[in-house]
Subunit: 151 residues, 2 copies
């Protein structure tokens, strides 16, 4: 039973905003008994085309992925100082769980489906091999829904 | 590959603190195209034996469970005014994702494993057919880890 508006019924990712990704990734690796993952940095604007609240932003983030749970991946995110949903979350709520991510097909169509429910894109961008859109679902769902589409 | 300290590598639940569960459960049901779930209230102290920060508390919460994602259940939680991790989260962070839950066996043993890592129980209690313990994992993991054990 897929969730019709999203076309999926699987949560693939839980995203956590952190202040110090080196420290928290080390704590995670130690706690879960797994290797320290590589910490990557999102691309610069010319490749990421990041838009936050409808405007281009130079925001970047450090990311680390943990796959020690077999059914859901955990993503750690350390935002930089530029405007982004990541930075806004850190300043408003502090560290904690920022989003739930799902894979979709035909992202533009799914975004249109959500717009009809009054849920707009808050941030979107590209990464190597795919793209993402954070949806402004907080009023309704109390979490940010991330749409991910790999090509 | 089980996470050794927990004896599991599956996330079973994402718990979300809300202010008005009737409204948010209705929004969820509508958004995901599923039936409105029953809203239940946790047991009184004589059955729940709820302990928060090592002391008995009369705290109760309204709960609603969504199983529209097939790999992880979403729990909505509306705390009452009594001291609890739910209430504390709402007052500190506002509405949002409060915990990640896993099923464990031999909960006491798992709690001991976590204590050795400096992670103590912040709240625990009983429900019909099982028990739970919220672990004070926020410093290390940036989320509250909930241990669930059904009998």
């Amino acid at each position: 039973m897929a969730n019709e508006r999203l076309g999926t019924d699987v949560i693939v990712q839980i995203g956590i905003i952190v202040k110090d990704i080196e420290k928290t990734a080390k704590d995670f690796a130690e706690f879960f008994g797994v290797d320290m993952p590589q910490i990557i940095v999102t691309e610069e604007y010319d490749k990421s085309h990041t838009q936050y609240k409808g405007k281009p932003t130079n925001a970047r983030a450090k990311l680390a992925f943990f796959r020690n749970f077999k059914n859901v991946e955990i993503e750690l995110i350390e935002p930089d100082e530029n405007p982004s949903t990541w930075r806004e979350f850190l300043e408003t709520h502090g560290e904690g769980i920022h989003h739930i991510g799902v894979f979709v097909k035909n992202m533009d169509e799914k975004i249109e489906n959500l717009k009809k429910e009054g849920i707009e894109v808050v941030q979107k961008g590209d990464y190597t091999g795919g793209r993402y859109a954070y949806m402004d679902s907080t009023d309704k769902l109390k979490f940010i829904l991330e749409l991910l589409e790999n090509f």
